[in-house]
C-alpha cells in the first residue's frame, strides 16, 4: 500500500499517474509503425489499417478491428481506394475516409454498411487530411483537399455538406474542428465557418512565438492548445478569450500527437505531447513531466485522461483525482487517510485503530472520511486497492448511525461491473451500450439488471438491438423470427417494434416487417415505414389512431400523389378525421377541390356556403348573382329554407341597388338592406326606401327607428312631426324625445313628452331636463325606484322639491 504513490508524478499543484490497463493480446509483427490507427473513446475498439499507402497496386492492406484489450474482432483485406483517415462514430461504427472523398462505413464486426461522399469537387483534388469529430448533433467529418479547401459535415446521419470559403493564401499549416474549423497559416489563426474566414488572435500569443504548427481541442471542446515552431505551447479557452499558460517545450520539431489530459473538476488541465521517443505532460506550471518512449504509440483522448496504446501494452495517463491524493498522499491527515489507517490497524488488532478513529470523530469528520474512501475506490483500477478502501469505508460506517448507504452500495455495484467488463476477454467497454454493440447480449442484460437500470433504458435497449440483429439472420423463416422476437421482447416497455421492422424491411423482408409492425403499440411510429412499404391505407388508419394531425396530413398528401382522384376521395371517405383535415387544407390551398369534396359527399349545405363565399370574390354582378343562384339551389337541396330565401332576398337587393345606382348614381351596391334604406332616406328618396320596407317585409319598429333618426339628422322637424302622427308609433314616443335631445333640440323633444306612456314618462321628463315634471310623474306613479332616480338628479338647493320627493318616497316605502 505504501507504494501506491510510486507512479505519481507531480506537476504544479497536481499529480499525474500512468497506470497499465492491459498487456495487449494482439500480436503485431511490425508494431504500430506505418499504420493508420483509430480508437473509439470510452474504452472503445481499435481499428488498424496496415500500410495504407500501397507499395504496389496489387498489394492489399489489411484492416483489423480489435477490442481495447487487443482481442481480434474482425480482419479483412482492404479492397477499396487509398484511405486517409480512420475514425469511429458515437455508435461504434468505423468510418474509412478515402483519398477521393468517399467515406465507407463498417460496423464493429467489419461488415460494410453504407458509404457517402464528401462532394464532387474532392474527386479532382484529393483529400489531404481528414478528421472525425463528435458534437451534440452526432458524428461529423471534416476534410481538407490538396488545394486547401475545407468541407464539413456536422452529422453523417443527416448529411449536409458545407463547403467552406477559400482560405487566405490558399495554404494552411494546422487545423482543428472547433466552432467551425480553426486553422493556422504561419503565425496567424483563423476561424473558418460557412460564411467567412475570420482572423483571430489568441490572447497573449505574440508573433515572436512563431508559426503555429499543431493544435488540439480538449474532449469537451472547451480548451485549445497551440504549438509553434519555436517550441512554445500556448493553452487557453477555445473561444479565445482567456489564456491559461504558455510553456516552452524546448522542442522545435512539431509533436506527432498533442492531446488534452484533464478530468471533470480538474485542478489544472494539461496537455500530453508525443514525439518519436518522448512523451511530455505540460500544463499551467512551467514544469513538465517527461516519459521516454520505446515503441511507437498512439494517444487517445478520454473524458478523464489519455489512453496510450503501444504494440505491447496500454496505459492510462490521468491526473490523480483530488480525493485519491488526499487519501494516499504521504503523511496525509485527511479524514479518509486516517480512516484507512484505522482500518489497517484494526485488522492488525492494534489499539491504534481506536486512536485514529477517535481523531476523526473528534473533528466530526467520520461521514466525510467514509465518503472519501468510497469515492476514491471508484477511481482506482487495482481491485486490491478498491477492496481496502471499501473495507475501510464499511468499517467507518459502523460508527455512524444515520449514514445513507446509497453511495456505498452503488459504488460497489458499479465497480463489480466495471471490473467484469475490464476483463481481458471483454476489453474495457465502460457502458452497457458499448456492451450491447459488441453483441455480448446476455452479459449486457445481466449488467442492466444488476445496476438496476430502468427497463426502458437498459434491458429494452439490449433487446431491441438483439432483435434488430435477429431479423438479419437469413437462414431463419419469417415465421420463426417473428415468433422468436415476440417471445423474447414481448411487450417490454420502450422497445420499438417499428425500429425492428424497419431493419427487417432494410434487409428485404417486407413480410416479416409487416408481422413485426403488428406488435407496435405506438401507431405514429408505424406510419413512416408503412408508407415506405406502400401500405398507405393501413398507414392512414394508423396515423388517425395516433391523434397526431400532422402525421395524418403527411399520409394524406402522400396518398394524393399516389392515387387517382376517385380512389383518393373514396379512401378519405372511409376516414372522417382525415377527410375533415383535408378539407381544412383545401380551404386554405385548393378551393376547387373543396367543392369536389362537398359534391362527392352530397353536402349541399356546405356547397351552398361555398358558393356564397365564392360570390364575394366576384367583381361582376352577373357572375355574383349566378353564384348566389347556385347557392340558393343548394340550400334548397339541403332543405335549408331560411338560407335559400335569405339568399334570394340578397339577390333581389343587389339587383335593386344596381338599378338605382344606374339611375341615380346612389352608390348603394354592397350595402346591407338597412344601410341601403338609410342611404335612400339621406338622399331624400323616401319612395324607394318605403318600397324596400314593404318588399322586404322590414319590421315596423326597425323602419320607424330608421326614419326617426334620419329625419332628426336632417333636422326636418315638420316631417318628423307628420311622421309621428302617421300612425301609432310602434317604438313608443320616448324614442322621439331622446332622438330630438341627441340633436340638441329641446323644444321639439318637449312636444313628444306628453305622448309617452306613463311607465316611461319620468324618464322622458328627465331627458328633457324637466325636474318638476319628472317629480310630478314619479309622485303620481308612487314608484320608489323612479322617485330615487329623480332624487339623484335633484340639486340640494331645491329644498322644496327635495322635501316633496322625500315625503312621496317615504309614503311609497310604507306601502
Amino acid at each position: 500500500m505504501a507504494f501506491i504513490t510510486a507512479n505519481w508524478n507531480p506537476l504544479g499543484e497536481a499529480f499525474y499517474r500512468k497506470t497499465e490497463l492491459y498487456e495487449m493480446c494482439w500480436n503485431l509483427r511490425d508494431g504500430l509503425r506505418d499504420c493508420l490507427v483509430a480508437a473509439a473513446p470510452y474504452g472503445g475498439p481499435i481499428a488498424l489499417l496496415r500500410e495504407p499507402v500501397r507499395r504496389s497496386p496489387s498489394s492489399r492492406p489489411q484492416l483489423e478491428i480489435y477490442s481495447a484489450s487487443g482481442v481480434a474482432i474482425a480482419s479483412f483485406p482492404w479492397k477499396s481506394g487509398p484511405v486517409v483517415q480512420l475514425g469511429w462514430t458515437v455508435s461504434d461504427e468505423l468510418l474509412c475516409i478515402q483519398e477521393d472523398g468517399s467515406v465507407l462505413i463498417y460496423d464493429l464486426f467489419g461488415s460494410f454498411k453504407r458509404h457517402f461522399s464528401m462532394g464532387q469537387e474532392v474527386m479532382q483534388s484529393q483529400v489531404l487530411e481528414a478528421k472525425v469529430f463528435h458534437s451534440p448533433y452526432g458524428t461529423g467529418v471534416a476534410i481538407v483537399t490538396a488545394s486547401s479547401r475545407f468541407t464539413l459535415a456536422t452529422n453523417i446521419d443527416d448529411l449536409k455538406l458545407r463547403r467552406l470559403p477559400e482560405v487566405p493564401g490558399n495554404t494552411w499549416s494546422a487545423g482543428e474542428v472547433c466552432r467551425g474549423i480553426l486553422m493556422s497559416n504561419g503565425p496567424e489563426l483563423y476561424i473558418l465557418d460557412t460564411t467567412s474566414c475570420t482572423a483571430v488572435v489568441p490572447p497573449g500569443l505574440g508573433p515572436q512565438a512563431g508559426s503555429i504548427v499543431h493544435m488540439s481541442v480538449s474532449f469537451s471542446y472547451k480548451y485549445l492548445a497551440l504549438f509553434t515552431d519555436t517550441g512554445h505551447m500556448w493553452t487557453g479557452s477555445s473561444h479565445l478569450q482567456d489564456k491559461m499558460s504558455e510553456v516552452d517545450t524546448k522542442k522545435t520539431t512539431p509533436p506527432k500527437q498533442m492531446v488534452w489530459c484533464r478530468r471533470p473538476k480538474s485542478q489544472q488541465p494539461s496537455v500530453v505531447l508525443m514525439w518519436d521517443r518522448l512523451l511530455m505532460v505540460a500544463g499551467v506550471s512551467h514544469d513538465t513531466i517527461q516519459f521516454p518512449l520505446e515503441d511507437p504509440c498512439v494517444l487517445i483522448g478520454e473524458l478523464d485522461g489519455v489512453r496510450i496504446i503501444s504494440s505491447a501494452n496500454q496505459e492510462l495517463l490521468q491526473e490523480v483525482p483530488l480525493v485519491c491524493q488526499e487519501i494516499f498522499k504521504i503523511a496525509s491527515m485527511a479524514p479518509g487517510a486516517l480512516l484507512l489507517e484505522a482500518h489497517r490497524e484494526y485488522q492488525k488488532s492494534s489499539q491504534k485503530a481506536d486512536e485514529y478513529l477517535r481523531e476523526i470523530k473528534e473533528q466530526s469528520m467520520l461521514g466525510e472520511a467514509v465518503r472519501q474512501c468510497v469515492e476514491a475506490a471508484g477511481h482506482e483500477y487495482d481491485s486490491n486497492t478498491q477492496k481496502s478502501l471499501l473495507r475501510a469505508a464499511s468499517f467507518g460506517k459502523c460508527f455512524l448511525t444515520d449514514f445513507s448507504p446509497e453511495a456505498f452500495v452503488s459504488t460497489c455495484r458499479e465497480l463489480r461491473v466495471l471490473n467484469a467488463v475490464r476483463e481481458r476477454g471483454v476489453g474495457l467497454p465502460l457502458t452497457h451500450t458499448q456492451l450491447v454493440y459488441r453483441q455480448f447480449y446476455p452479459l449486457a442484460i445481466e449488467v442492466c439488471r444488476y445496476l438496476k437500470i430502468p427497463d426502458y433504458q437498459g434491458v429494452s435497449r439490449v433487446l431491441k438491438h438483439w432483435a434488430s440483429c435477429k431479423v438479419q439472420q437469413k437462414d431463419l423463416s419469417d415465421e420463426a423470427i417473428a415468433r422468436a422476437v415476440c417471445v423474447k421482447v414481448g411487450d417490454s416497455p420502450g422497445v420499438s417494434y417499428s425500429h425492428i421492422a424497419a431493419k427487417a424491411y432494410e434487409c428485404g423482408r417486407p413480410e416479416l416487417a409487416i408481422k413485426l409492425l403488428d406488435f407496435e403499440a405506438r401507431s405514429g411510429e408505424q406510419v413512416p415505414l408503412l408508407l415506405k412499404m406502400k401500405r398507405s391505407q393501413l398507414a392512414l388508419s394508423k396515423a388517425v389512431e395516433s391523434g397526431d394531425t400532422d402525421l395524418v396530413y403527411t399520409v394524406v398528401t402522400y396518398l394524393k400523389s399516389e392515387m387517382n382522384r376517385g380512389d383518393f376521395f373514396m379512401t378519405l371517405r372511409n376516414q372522417p378525421v382525415a377527410l375533415s383535415l383535408y378539407r381544412q387544407f383545401c380551404k386554405l390551398q385548393e378551393q376547387e377541390t373543396l367543392k369536389d369534396l362537398y359534391n362527392q359527399d352530397d353536402d349541399h349545405q356546405e356547397l351552398a356556403n361555398y358558393y356564397v363565399t365564392a360570390s364575394y370574390r366576384e367583381k361582376r354582378l352577373e357572375s355574383r348573382l349566378s353564384l348566389l343562384q347556385t347557392a340558393v339551389d343548394e340550400y334548397n337541396k339541403a332543405k335549408n329554407e331560411f338560407s335559400a330565401k335569405a339568399t334570394e332576398e340578397e339577390m333581389r337587393l343587389l339587383r335593386f341597388q344596381r338599378k338605382l345606382d344606374d339611375e341615380k348614381g346612389a352608390g348603394l351596391l354592397g350595402l346591407s338592406l338597412q344601410a341601403t334604406m338609410e342611404a335612400l332616406l339621406a338622399l331624400g328618396l323616401h319612395k324607394q326606401a318605403e318600397q324596400l320596407y314593404r318588399d322586404f317585409r322590414v319590421p315596423d319598429k326597425r323602419f320607424w327607428w330608421l326614419k326617426l333618426k334620419s329625419l332628426a339628422e336632417k333636422e326636418e322637424w315638420e316631417e318628423l312631426e307628420k311622421f309621428s302622427k302617421s300612425k301609432k308609433s310602434p317604438i313608443g314616443y320616448l324614442a322621439f324625445v331622446e332622438v330630438c335631445m341627441k340633436s340638441n333640440n329641446k323644444p321639439e323633444a318637449k312636444k313628444y313628452v306628453s305622448k309617452v306612456t306613463p311607465e316611461q314618462r319620468v324618464k322622458a321628463h328627465l331627458a328633457v331636463g324637466d325636474l318638476e315634471g319628472a317629480a310630478d310623474a314619479a309622485i303620481e306613479r308612487k314608484s320608489d325606484s323612479e322617485l330615487a332616480a329623480v332624487l339623484a338628479r335633484c340639486p340640494a338647493s331645491d329644498r322644496q322639491l327635495l322635501d316633496r320627493l322625500n315625503r312621496a318616497a317615504a309614503a311609497a316605502a310604507k306601502k
Binding site: 426502458y456 386554405l588 364575394y616 335569405a646 332576398e649 328627465l766
Partner: protein, 617 residues
Amino acid sequence: MAAHLSYGRVNLNILREAARKELREFLDKCAGSKAIVWDEYLTGPFGLIAQYSLLKEHEVEKMFTLKSGRLPSADVKNIIFFVRPRLELMDIIAENVFSEDKMHSPRDFHILFVPRRSMLCEQRLKEQGVLASFINIDEYILDLIPYDGDLLSMEYESAFRECYLENDQTSLYHTAKGLMTLQALYGTIPQIYGKGECARHVANMMLRMKREFAGSQNQILPVFDTLLLLDRNVDLLTPLATQLTYEGLIDEIYGITNGYVKLPPEKFAQKKQGEASKDLPTEPKKLQLNSAEELYAEIRDKNFNAVGAALSKKAKIISAAFEERHNAKTVGEIKQFVSQLPHMQAARSSLANHTSIAELIKDITSTVCFWGHLGVCASLVSASEAFFDNLTVEQEFMTGVDTDKVNTYIEDCVAQKDPLIKILRLVSMQSVCNNGLKQKVLDYYKREILQTYGYEHILTLNNLEKAGLLKLQSSSRNNYPTIRKTLKLWMEDANEQNPNDISYVYSGYAPLSVRLTQVLARPGWRSIEEVLKMLPGPHFEERQQLPAGLHKKRQQGENRTTLVFFLGGVSYAEIAALRFLSQMEDSGMEYIIATTKLLNGTTWIKSLMDRPESQSS
C-alpha cells in the same frame, strides 16, 4: 423576474424555466450572431417566457417580423425563423430565402417550429426548393404557457372553432402533448375526470401516450391529485354573459392580450404641478396585469362593485404609511422608513393606475353613485344605461324570463345598429337559455341580422348553428330550468362585497362550468347524473397507476390540487370563481387552471365569424 409564478400551490416557474432552458439550448446550437424572424402571433406568448435580454445574451442582435419579400439586411451569421407550423408561413419563408440567395454574403438559415415540427410544412419547403437551405430544423415545444401562478394557457386562438366547426383536432393533440409535458415535470396525475367529446378524446390520447411510453415510469411525486377536462360546449352560456369581476370587465371592455391591456391614455396623464397639461399622451397606456402586482392580485377577482371600497381602503393604508415619516425621529427609524420607500412608491403608483382603470370602467358600467367617496361622481350617461339594460336582459335570460319570444331590447339594439357581436352574444344566450329557439323566433332574429348587417353574415349564422350556439328547439321540453335549479346556477342574494358563493362573479349567475367543478369535489358527480346526461358529450373517470412509493401521504387538513382544463377557452370570471373556491376555507381543494385560450364572449364569437372584416362596428 417571474416570481409570481412560484407563489402558488404549484410552482409554475418550473415549467417556465424548462421552456427557457430549451430556448437557450436551441439558440446556442446556432453559433454566432443571429437575427430572429418572428411569426408575429408568437411574440406575445414568447414575451412571457423570455425577454429580449435573454435573447441578447445569446447573441440575438436583430428581430424582424415575418413578411414576404426580401429579408432586411443585418450583419449576422444566422437567420432563425420562429414560426407556427402553417403552410402559408412556409411560402413566405421560401420567398425570403429565395431573395436572399441573390445577395453576396450568405447567412445560415434555421427554423424553429412552435409548438411542433410538421412534416407537412417541411414537405412544402421541399416543394418550394428551399428545405436544403436550412442548417437546423427544430421544434420548440411550447404548449402550455404560464400566465400566472395558477394559470396556464396555450393561446391557441382557433381551438374552439377547429374542434366544433371543422372537426380538426389538432389543438387537442397539442393539449394531450402539453399535459404529458406537465406530467413529466409535476408527476403523473392519478385521477382524470372529464365531460364532453373533446375531453374524452384528449383523455384517450393521454392514456395512449402513457402506454406508448410504458416503462419510463415517472418518479416524481404527483403535484396534482386530479385532472378535470371540460369541453367548452358543455357550458356555452358562461362566456356569453358579461363578466362582472374587475379583471373580467377590463377584458370585456379593453381586451387583455398575453397579460397586457392597452388603455385610453387620458386618465393616466402625469399630473405634475406647474406643468400645463397641454401635451396629453396619445399612445395607449400599456399595463401588465398579473399577480406580481400586490394590489391587482387583491382586487382582480372581486366583483367590480366591491373594488371601490377595496381601493379606498388601500388608499388609506398607503397614505398612513407615508404619514409614518413624521413619527420617524431617530436616525434608525428614518433609515427604516427610507428603506421601505421604493415599495411604498410602487404601491402608490399601482393604486393610482387601478383607480384610473376603475374610473374608466365605472364610466361605462355604473348607474349608481357608489364611487362618490373617491371624489368621482357618477352621471347618467347613455353608455352606462346601455350597459345596465344589456345586463338586465342577460339576467332575465339566465333566470328564464321570456326566453321563448322575441326580445324587445335585442330588437331595439338591432334597430340602433349596435355592434353585431353584441347582438350575436345576446341571441345566442337566449337560445342557450331556452335550449333552442322556436323556428319563428330564430328566423326573425336571423332576418333582422341579415337585413341590418348584411347578407354575408349568413355564413356566421350557419357557423353559430353548427357550434350549437344558435339552435332550433327540437324537443318541446326546455331542460335549461332543470339544469339551472339542480346546479343552483342562479342565486338571488349574491353578495358582491363579501361573497359566499361563486355566483358573485356574474352578480347572481354561477358559471355552470365552475359548478360542475365544485360538485365534482363535493359531493361528486354521481349526485347530478341526470343533469350530466342533459349536457352534451360523455362524462367519464379514468385512473392512472402510480408507481409504488409515489402515493401521497396526505397531512391532516392538507388540500388536494385539481388541474381544471378548459378545452375551447375560459373566461376571467370563471378563473375568478375557481380562485374563490380555492380560497374557501372548507373547500379542501386548490385549483390550477389551464386552457386552450383565454377568452371572453366577444373574442369567442369573433373566432366563429366568417368574413368578420366586413362586420360593422
